[in-house]
């Protein structure tokens, strides 16, 4: 530590004021997260931090201990009499509709006759504090008749317990092409559930207003839907409900539909008790009550030629939807639309169905089915490579969508602005993939107890909600008399930097400094009928809506400014609104730059001349649509591309894995904010790494969640990230027709972690000299790895020498 003498200390303190001012100036011009300073000082406000008066009550949810049971009878009277209890509610006490399903009305707000998963809400309690809530809960008597639960996907399939029909996307003649292909493989892949593990658990604060009004401070990704459902359960109009969201402490899809529940429960209690009520799930309750990423059982049969080109694929996607639909079919659909990942498959059939089991309804999670769909086809590619004894990179390259031909997906959309070859070429070079392949092979031939693995995987991710009408957004911008600007938009800031991007879009469009602008908390009374901040669409949609609103305001201001210039100007030609430029907090005539006025002065002029300084903005994504029945259409505005190379070291005796190095090259068009985009890529990859490695959801035989806290559910720590982590943006490739020619970045990087997963498989495969196909699934926990290695050793022992040779040896490729 540098030693400082007393004199210096005095100076240091005096200077710190100057430093503070300098810092403030620098930070305002910076591209860091707009809330970063608040975050690091603990000043950021989340739902649980909002100051409330002493009338506040604590809400608690009484949930089902059974995965499946009939509620025969119950008695709430003793609980209601407990001092300090202000409301105890059952489904019968709901003034409006007892329904939560966001798409299909199949999920009650409070279970009445039957419970369909352990952790399902049955009753609500509002009391002076948490302890009284728990006391009251003990006084509630419920008589259940346990019923047989369905607790795994295969049983659900056998019993035909489905949430909806089969869906199908088909092109060509799959069956005949499969038969006639020179080689065929088939198999199954299981992918596991994943808990969102947002740091801030589901929270909601409701404050009753006058008459029937309800003010809802919710940790939701979808305030408009929260508003709708709160209105529905209360039996009031949406205009009587205001939902406000300042920021979320993480969401990742977990608060797209499932924050609605906490909001409805808190609103019901608040409505009944006529007092503010807050519900904040503790971690264990949050994990037990809410849905997760859908586990999938993927079945595939593919035909390919000697070169490794896939000729035909028949893919069946079975998703575990849990006890109600939630977003299962939208997720399944995205899965089916990403079952090709980056590969052209001439004859394709993708079938999918979401099955009903007795688990919490599974829900949106970063990637929204994409990861599962891609895991399937990446497994296929990996298997083809091993079968043919070729490097998987080579097989991937052979199967990429073409630039000119072979560029139409199985659902009929042309892959435009294909960056796959570009990314592949650059990344293979910068990561020294083939040199390292040789080094890995050398290492593996010299080491028995440690094996290395290497894999490159691509991502092609379709951007847009596949439900076309959701691709719309609104904004409301108010400019106040003092020249400050308040921007409202419908998106939610959940850490992804949306507000930072919007701030910069608004500032640059309006030609003012960012310090003039504040991004308001998202509020349904400011911008109505918004879509969820999901599908990586936040900046695309809301950025455009804000731009649209700014455009309207600029036009009005420009006209007023022209009038002002022309009144005073003595020059030959009058100023025209089209020539007015907004830049650096000034407004000037680009034809006569000496005619200029400060932004604040211009605003005063507008106000005095009775010009409206408030404007709404609106955007809808053009030219998209998808016909679900036919399985054909143009569901995506564009594709985002990325590619990763991961190298791992596996301890063959313990199954421990270390990610030695990861290289990522990702396409974000022209980045709106490189710092923030890199943050999304790194964070997305590491979250994907969790899904692929240590994050394992376990249930007991009766359907109770065993891994319901971080004690047993293991997301990556700082020590689990790649030792050498090289992440770059693809530069110089702007995206046409999007806000500032950028691309969405929220979800696509998640799936880059499949490179680490397949690198682990590659390392396991090295135990058997790549002559046998290892058993493998997601997540590749050390248990999965160790059992797979054991299995491989058995195969090696059992296989006669001749049979071993029937599968070709891997060759060195370069």
């Amino acid at each position: 530590m540098r030693k400082v003498n007393y004199y210096e200390v005095i100076i240091l303190n005096k200077n710190s004021i100057i430093q503070k001012i300098k810092e403030a100036i620098r930070m305002e011009n910076s591209t860091h997260h707009e809330s970063a300073q608040k975050h690091v000082t603990g000043a950021s406000v989340y739902v649980d931090d909002i100051p409330v008066n002493n009338q506040l009550l604590t809400g608690r949810i009484v949930t089902s201990p059974f995965a499946h049971a009939r509620i025969k009878s119950f008695d709430l009277s003793a609980a209601r009499l407990l001092p300090g209890v202000h409301a105890v509610l059952s489904g019968a006490d709901i003034p409006g509709e007892n329904q939560m399903g966001p798409v299909i009305k199949d999920e009650p707000c409070l279970a009445e006759r039957e419970v369909n998963f352990a952790g399902q809400a049955i009753f609500l309690i509002a009391a002076e504090n948490e302890e009284i809530c728990r006391e009251a809960e003990k006084l509630i008597k419920i008589d259940f008749e346990p019923l047989l639960p369905i607790l795994d996907l295969k049983t659900a399939i056998d019993k035909d317990s489905a949430l909806g029909p089969w869906r199908k996307i088909e092109r060509g003649s799959v069956d005949s092409q499969l038969k006639s292909a020179p080689h065929q493989i088939q198999g199954e892949l299981h992918t596991g559930a994943q808990e969102h593990w947002y740091l801030e658990t589901q929270s909601c604060l409701c404050i009753p207003g006058e008459n029937r009004e309800m003010f809802v401070y919710s940790s939701t990704q979808h305030p408009s839907e929260t508003q709708t459902l709160v209105a529905e359960v209360l039996g009031i109009g949406s205009h009587e409900v205001v939902v406000e969201v300042r920021r979320l402490g993480g969401a990742f899809g977990g608060k797209e539909t499932q924050a609605n529940h906490e909001a409805c429960w808190a609103a019901l209690l608040s409505n009944a008790a006529h007092r503010p009520v807050k519900i904040r799930l503790n971690r264990d309750d949050d994990q037990m009550m809410t849905g997760k990423r859908h586990p999938f059982l993927i079945r595939y049969a593919v035909g390919f030629n000697d070169e490794g080109e896939i000729l035909a694929a028949d893919i069946e996607l079975n998703s575990d939807g849990g006890a109600a639909n939630d977003l299962s079919y939208a997720i399944l659909e995205r899965s089916m639309l990403h079952a090709d990942n980056s590969y052209f498959i001439p004859h394709t059939r993708v079938r999918g169905r979401a099955w009903k089991t007795n688990y919490p309804p599974n829900t949106a999670f970063r990637g929204f089915g994409g990861p599962q769909g891609m895991a399937g086809i990446e497994t296929v590619i990996d298997r083809i490579s091993r079968y043919l004894g070729k490097d998987p990179a080579e097989i991937r390259l052979k199967n990429f969508y073409g630039l000119e031909k072979n560029n139409i997906t199985h659902y009929g959309q042309t892959v435009e602005n294909n960056r796959l070859f570009l990314l592949y070429e650059k990344l293979v070079k910068s990561s020294e993939y083939f040199e390292r392949r040789r080094a890995v092979n050398d290492y593996n031939s010299e080491n028995e107890f440690y094996k290395k693995g290497l894999a490159i995987t691509p991502v092609k991710f379709g951007i847009s909600f596949t439900t076309a009408f959701l691709n719309q957004a609104g904004a409301l911008i108010n400019i106040y008399k003092d020249g400050t600007v308040l921007v409202n938009h419908g998106g939610i800031e959940m850490g992804q930097g949306l507000n930072t991007k919007i701030l910069h879009v608004a500032a640059s469009e309006l030609g003012v400094s960012a310090e003039r602008i504040k991004i308001n908390a998202t509020d349904t009374s400011k911008v109505p009928n918004t879509s969820a901040t999901a599908a990586s669409s936040g900046s695309d949609l809301n950025g455009m809506a804000v731009k649209n609103a700014v455009g309207k305001l600029k036009r009005r201001i420009a006209e007023a400014v022209c009038e002002h210039f022309n009144k005073e100007a003595k020059g030959p030609a009058p100023s025209r609104a089209d020539d007015i430029t907004f830049r650096d907090d000034e407004i000037f005539d680009s034809k006569n730059p000496e005619r200029k006025i400060g932004f604040s002065d211009a605003i005063s002029i507008c106000y005095l001349n009775q010009i409206s300084l408030s404007a709404t903005g609106y955007y809808r994504t053009p030219h998209i649509g998808f016909d679900r029945e036919k399985g054909q259409g143009h569901p995506f505005h564009y594709y985002a591309f990325g590619m990763a190379v991961s190298e791992v070291l596996v301890d063959v005796l313990t199954g421990f894995t270390k990610i030695l190095r990861t290289d990522i090259l990702h396409d974000v068009g022209e980045s709106l904010n490189p710092n923030i985009d890199l943050g999304q890529i790194i964070g997305g990859y590491v979250q994907g790494l969790g899904w692929c490695t240590t994050e394992e959801i376990k249930w007991d035989s009766e359907g109770h969640l065993l891994s319901h806290s971080p004690d047993t559910y293991k997301i990556p720590t700082v020590k689990d990230i790649p030792e050498n982590f090289i992440v770059n943006l693809l530069e110089g490739y702007p995206n046409p027709n999007t806000i500032k020619r950028s691309k969405a970045v929220g979800e696509p990087p998640f799936m880059l972690a499949l490179s680490a997963w397949l690198a682990i498989k590659d390392a396991i495969s090295a135990v058997g000299n790549h002559r046998f196909e290892p058993e493998f699934s997601i997540p590749a926990t050390n248990e999965t790895i160790l059992l797979s290695i054991e299995n491989l050793k058995q195969k090696m022992q059992n296989a006669p020498a001749t049979e071993q040779l029937s599968v070709p040896q891997p060759e060195q490729t370069s």
Partner: protein, 478 residues
């Protein structure tokens, strides 16, 4: 005995009288206390079990070397009386009074170390503790200091870079300037024993071992805590009201480490962080186990006495201590006795300790030169996880490369930490070769019948434990 507790918060002495502030209990966690205040909402609850670090705060007090030590702890795992005589520092305290950010905070902003911001206050406090540490931390230290802080957004890379940035430019900060005042304030707090009595609870924090032993005798049902990293979960997760607690964390006599020629004697109340440097050179297998023991926040509180008192079959330090032939000292008011760890465990969380006895010391004999020790921990995640299978191995070979002494101790394989007697017996006197080790793996397979649970299947445990023998061989054969 005094009835109140005192600590520094926001630069001032804060005294809590539990009889007056009835909304607080002696078992109220520091997290819940801080969040009940209007100006300390920066401390966040992410899990309430010491796994996520969002509630990390820093406790400062004069250390053994005279410097003020700054330790990151999970505020969800500490009860209010554990603050007594210490300075409590939260994220709100890092800024200087004129609003200038602390270098740790500037680093996080500059390196984009925040996204949703919910983990950020805890991250800042963990980095701050490291910043105030006088050693010169390298990249591994930074990672180690951050292992107990989960983040779901950033992928950690920018946070680690922020820490490196802040630590590379360490200067005097406001805490350095206030150190004199802090010492003065802390000196003014009485070190006398504490007894907090409320309508439903008795919380004792004795200042001497004598008093503690007396209490242990008169209150046989009391929960004994030191770091409370285990017992606190009963409050935060099971919502129990623990009626009687004896908190040993104020007893200086339990804080001694004696490093003699023959043995290392560790006071039962020494936290693992303080023990780490001592064992690094001379007990590497113990050191190795400590590096994957919980997180830094947990190690700053957890004690060997606590790990032995809990006597869990998956207690991290137990197999390796047994491999080192450790003994422990049990004391009651009438005397003391030494028990070998071999004889200590009786069953699932059952030991030979009598209700009136306290564990006061752990004695680890210094092994003869040439004795080989290894410790292994298999868990789903390498760090900040609980063992699925753990092991502590000891091996002595004679000149003929034959096994002259061997201890194979396993955790997670039975209802208690246990030696693999039959496997040891088979190997004793045999050549330390791959062939004999592979034969012994078969014996080991039959020696244990592990269970399947949330952490792993019985099959996995069986395969992993066998593999550890092979690993031990591969790491010890030349």
């Amino acid at each position: 005995m005094q009835k109140t507790i005192s600590f520094i918060l926001d630069g001032q002495i804060k005294t809590i009288d539990f009889q007056k502030e009835i909304q607080l209990r002696p078992t109220t966690t520091v997290l819940n206390y801080l969040r009940s205040l209007p100006n300390h909402k920066g401390v966040k609850e992410g899990c309430a079990e010491g796994d996520c670090g969002a509630c990390t705060v820093v406790l400062a007090e004069p250390g053994k070397n005279g410097n003020i030590s700054y330790k990151a702890v999970n505020s969800c795992l500490i009860f209010l009386p554990m603050l007594h005589g210490r300075q409590l520092i939260t994220v709100e305290n890092l800024k200087s009074s004129d609003g200038a950010l602390h270098p740790v905070q500037t680093g996080l902003v500059e390196k984009d170390g925040t996204q949703c911001g919910f983990c950020t206050p805890g991250m800042a406090m963990s980095i701050f503790a490291l910043y105030k540490n006088n050693s010169d931390p390298g990249p591994e230290d930074i990672k180690d200091a951050l292992t107990g802080n989960l983040c779901r957004c950033t992928g950690y890379k920018p946070i680690a870079e922020a820490a490196a940035e802040a630590l590379a430019h360490r200067e005097m900060d406001i805490f350095s300037l206030q150190e004199k005042e802090t010492r003065k304030l802390l000196k003014g707090i009485s070190r006398e024993s504490i007894h907090i009595r409320t309508a439903r609870q008795d919380y004792y924090r004795p200042a001497t071992l004598r008093q503690a032993l007396k209490l242990r005798n008169t209150c046989p049902d009391a929960e004994v805590i030191s770091g409370a990293t285990d017992v606190a979960l009963r409050v935060t997760k099971k919502f129990e009201l623990i009626k009687e607690i004896i908190d040993l964390s104020g007893i200086d006599e339990l804080q001694d480490i004696a490093d003699t020629r023959d043995e290392l004697i560790v006071g039962a109340g020494v936290n693992l962080s303080d023990l780490l440097p001592t064992v690094r050179e001379s007990f590497p297998a113990l050191y190795g186990m400590f590096t994957v023991y919980g997180s830094r926040q947990v190690r700053n509180l957890a004690t060997l006495g606590g790990n032995l008192g809990t006597a869990s079959p998956i207690g991290d330090s137990l197999p390796v201590l047994m491999a080192y032939c450790a003994r422990l000292m049990l004391e009651n008011e009438s005397g003391q006795r030494e028990v070998s760890l071999d004889d200590y465990f009786r069953g699932y969380r059952q030991t030979v300790r009598q209700p009136d006895e306290l564990i006061t010391k752990i004695i680890i004999p210094r092994p003869a030169n040439g004795t080989i020790f290894k410790s292994y921990k298999i868990s789903k995640r390498k760090d900040l996880d609980i063992s699925t299978v753990s092991a502590g191995f000891r091996l002595e070979l004679n000149n003929g490369n034959r096994v002259s002494d061997i201890r194979l101790v396993f955790g997670g394989m039975a209802d208690r930490v246990r030696r693999a007697d039959k496997t040891e017996g088979f190997l004793l006197g045999k050549k330390w070769s791959r062939e004999t080790v592979e034969q012994s793996m078969e014996i080991l397979r039959r020696e244990f019948t592990p269970i399947s649970d949330v952490r792993g299947s019985a099959d996995f445990r069986r395969i992993a434990s066998r593999n550890l023998l092979l690993k031990f061989w591969s790491e010890t054969s030349t």
